[in-house]
């Protein structure tokens, strides 16, 4: 399904020092699943990649056995992005670990502006234990809030160390800073890669909508996550689709696929990460796919397949 889109997907990982960004990055690299991920680490960054993943090191660049690479950004986003885009072969996914105080929108807006990049999403990592103190700190509070407010997905770490009531308070506070952003509990960064980086498997081509929880997904996240897909001759009005995407269930983390538009308006590529939705027009030459084909992943209990069926079928 990615063959329609030559843009390099970019994910920004933001969060204050010690929140767990590096743990999350290591988790993503370990479970890259064939994607060649390129990680750019911000200034002063120790490239703290788990030693057993590293195959070789050349100056500031680490090469991993699974084809992923990690580089220091050297304090200059402009050149780091240019170099990533010019790299041969171009990586499958670009991951930027922003500095502990960086404004992530500076990076995400660059990805939105650059025609050869596609902003896949901004992931804020929040430390359940330390977050409140950081927000209250007059020197860094506004930076920390800015990071969360920019997020599409918020990964909450160390949530097992916090009292349930405190955790609930934290989630309410996060929802105030970032209305619509999806929140995930993740100890040790254990979140399925398809949530963090997209790349949902394409739906089976069937004539009717169905929940795909019966599919064989051999990982241990199944008790937390639910997958849904739809495939068939479903057509949408562009405006209606836009408003559909603005009213998705709160537990939906990602939605991706091809949609058919009404009349002769052709096909569109839909990508939703958390609260952010993008519809890109596809040319008619799009290979193979002739009809609507959407897949989603969300939090079990917070996303009902029946609701999605109702919305899209």
């Amino acid at each position: 399904m990615n063959s329609s889109d030559q843009r390099l997907p970019l994910t920004v990982i933001t969060g204050y020092l010690g929140a767990g960004k590096t743990t999350l990055v290591n988790h993503m690299l370990r479970h890259a699943g064939g994607r060649r991920i390129m990680v750019l680490v911000n200034d002063f960054g120790d490239i703290a990649i788990d030693a057993d993943l590293i195959e070789s090191q050349d100056g500031d660049t680490l090469t991993l056995a699974n084809g992923c690479i990690c580089c220091s950004m050297g304090g200059d986003l402009f050149y780091a992005l240019s170099d990533a885009l010019d790299r041969q072969p171009r990586p499958d996914h670009l991951l930027i670990e922003a500095s502990g105080v960086a404004d992530p929108t500076r990076i995400s807006e660059t990805a939105r502006a650059e025609p050869d990049l596609r902003l896949d999403g901004t992931i804020a990592v929040v430390d359940a234990v330390g977050f409140a103190d950081r927000v209250a700190d007059s020197r860094i509070g506004s930076s920390v809030v800015r990071q969360v407010a920019a997020a599409d997905l918020i990964v909450i770490t160390k949530s097992d160390l916090e009292e349930i009531t405190e955790l609930a308070k934290l989630k309410t506070q996060l929802a105030e800073f970032a209305p619509g952003a999806r929140q995930l509990d993740a100890n040790f960064g254990q979140v399925p890669l398809e949530v963090l980086l997209g790349g949902l498997p394409s739906a089976e081509v069937t004539a009717r909508a169905h929940a795909c929880s019966h599919h064989d997904h051999p990982d241990d996240h199944e008790d937390l996550y639910l997958r849904w897909s739809i495939s068939g001759d479903f057509r949408y009005d562009r405006q209606t689709l836009r408003s559909l995407l603005e009213n998705l269930p709160a537990g939906l983390l990602r939605l991706k696929g091809i949609v058919q538009f009404n009349a002769d308006e052709g096909l569109g590529l839909v990508q939703v990460v958390g609260r952010r939705a993008e519809i890109t027009s596809l040319s008619a030459r799009f290979e193979g796919v002739m009809q609507t084909n959407l897949v989603a992943i969300g939090l079990k209990g917070q996303m009902e397949p029946a609701d999605l069926d109702r919305l899209f079928a």
Partner: protein, 547 residues
């Protein structure tokens, strides 16, 4: 051993016992003696060597060679683009580029340059300053009148904005459907052509191959920088952030090592590229590679953004008419670790602080670092340090820190700070040179070229007069004397670079580095010191007239 005695109309020495003299004797590239002809002649007669009286400077005024303590090498290479600024400027090659006083003049110059370009080559201009051209905002229609057949990008003087034509907008695929922060749109919904900040400029810069970094890394860029320094009377100049890969160090060493390279360079290592312990090791290694005309071993850390960009970190009550309190460039905790590690390793630091919270946090970091690892004579420098108040200057003094204040900023951005960014009271204490001196802080002042033009006489003029384009005197109590300002562009910055034992004054034993002026800055009206002509410089006893 030949000794040359230079007679001058006046020699301003920066030495208390004889602040002024008429003759200086030079031997082996160093100052042998300074005083009257009779006084300096004593040496030559006892030595038995040749002596010669040189009258080249008989009607000139000699100063210690100017030291530019905060500028950037790309101030040379930037001239490969077309200059379209408001003020007259002279290129490194000596060509006068008249200042452009309205948008018609800008487009006229662009048209002329455009007509000489090969097909397909983008037209790139720099130095445009909308502060001075207020009739209307430069836009794509103005530039489309020049041409739509090739991309045009006009980089604004602050390097944070650019204005482009329709051709360039098309290349970047910016149109009425573009909803990206910084892609300015008009009432009709179409992009105006103005692109603000990196995100919006990136697609254009990438496609037009505008590579600011490489401006400082080429043979031509390094040579052009030497010429920029020479024309402004500077004999020692910093390049205040450079990644300094070994091949670049070798190139700079080779070029500055040529006898006719007109200045000494002090490139400063970017500390943001690796963990602090690795940077410390690299800096100490670089220090060993220093030569007579290339000094290495210091590092730079950038803590916050700029005041005019509302990204400098501000204490309460924050910006006057702007959002929030600014943006850190690195987390305060990480700054603490870096400062402590580098200080412990004995590495000399230049730390960029613009807002008063950035200076406050940095002062705390240095205090902690010095408590753990006392480092006598460290001379770490707070660069810009534009909004420090008197209490901060007292702490700065107590910790042995130096400041290098951005005096040119008073003129270029003072009105904006008064009216918009920090408000009247704090604008008046911006770049508080008089407070720094009265509190006993070692002081330098700078241009940050190419952000503002290199020209120590202009920088001194700003610190002495503190006038803005609107005619305002911004904080009269912070004006300093001409003598103090001249010290802040010679011995002051030499001290901040640990070079005051070699340069910065005209004194026996020091390098014979002089700036040669056509008039006496201590005798003319202080409002015209910026207009005094520069004859050229003397570097290590070598006469370098501006041809």
């Amino acid at each position: 051993m030949q000794t040359v005695v230079y007679a001058a109309r006046k020699i301003i020495t920066m030495v208390p016992n004889r602040p002024e003299a008429t003759h200086v004797a030079v031997r082996d590239g160093r100052v042998l003696a300074v005083g009257s002809l009779e006084e300096v002649s004593g040496w030559t007669s006892s030595d038995g060597g040749e002596q010669r009286l040189d009258e080249t400077f008989a009607d000139k005024v000699l100063l210690p060679g100017f030291v530019e303590g905060h500028a950037h090498m790309m101030a040379g290479g930037i001239w490969q683009f077309t200059y379209v600024g408001f003020e007259d400027r002279i290129s490194p090659e000596g060509m006068l580029w008249e200042g452009l006083k309205d948008i018609d003049a800008v487009t006229q110059r662009l048209r002329q340059i455009e007509s000489e370009l090969a097909p397909g080559v983008p037209l790139i201009a720099w130095g445009f300053d909308p502060i001075f051209l207020t009739a209307h905002r430069l836009n794509r229609f103005d530039l489309d009148e020049v041409t739509r057949d090739r991309p045009i990008a006009v980089i604004h003087s602050n390097f944070h904005l650019m204005t482009v034509n329709s051709n360039a907008l098309d290349l970047a695929e910016f149109d009425r459907n573009t909803d990206v922060m910084g892609v300015d749109r008009g009432e009709d919904g179409e992009p105006t052509g103005e692109l603000q900040e990196m995100a919006a400029m990136f697609p254009v810069m990438r496609r037009l191959k505008i590579d600011i970094r490489s401006l400082a890394r080429t043979d031509g860029g390094i040579r052009a920088y030497g010429k920029v320094c020479h024309r402004s009377g500077v004999t020692t100049a910093t390049d205040l952030i450079n990644d300094l890969p070994i091949e670049d160090v070798e190139l700079i060493a080779a070029i500055t090592g040529e006898e006719d390279y007109p200045a000494r360079l002090v490139p400063v290592l970017n500390a943001h590229t690796a963990p602090a312990d690795e940077i410390a090791a690299q800096a100490l290694k670089l220090r060993e590679m220093s030569t007579e005309k290339l000094r290495l071993g210091s590092i730079k850390i950038i803590t916050d953004g700029s005041i005019q960009g509302f990204t400098a970190r501000m204490r309460w009550p924050g910006y006057y008419k702007g959002p929030d309190h600014g943006i850190w460039n690195i987390p305060p905790e990480q700054l603490m670790t870096a400062v402590e590690t580098l200080n412990a390793a004995g590495v000399h630091m230049h730390i960029h602080v613009n807002g008063d919270e950035a200076s406050e946090v940095t002062i705390e970091c240095v205090a902690q670092a010095l408590t753990k690892n006392p480092n006598p004579d460290h001379r770490h420098v707070l660069q810009h340090c534009q909004l420090a108040d008197a209490a901060q200057f007292r702490k700065i003094r107590n910790l042995g820190l130096c400041v290098n204040l951005f005096a040119n900023h008073i003129y270029y951005f003072g009105d904006k700070h008064y009216e918009l960014t920090v408000g009247p009271e704090r604008a008046e204490r911006i770049d508080a040179c008089a407070t720094a001196l009265s509190e006993g802080v070692p002081l330098a002042i700078h241009s940050d070229a190419p952000v503002t033009p290199m020209g120590p006489l202009f920088t001194a003029w700003c610190a002495v007069n503190r006038v803005t384009p609107s005619g305002r005197v911004l904080g009269a109590a912070e004006c300093i004397s001409v003598e103090e300002a001249l010290r802040a562009v010679t011995l002051g910055p030499a001290y901040t670079l640990h070079l005051d034992h070699e340069i910065g004054s005209i004194e026996v034993g020091k390098k014979a580095d002089f700036t040669v002026l056509e008039d006496d800055p201590l005798a003319v009206d202080p409002m015209v010191i910026k207009d005094i002509g520069v004859w050229g410089t003397v570097l290590g006893g070598r006469l370098q007239p501006i041809s």
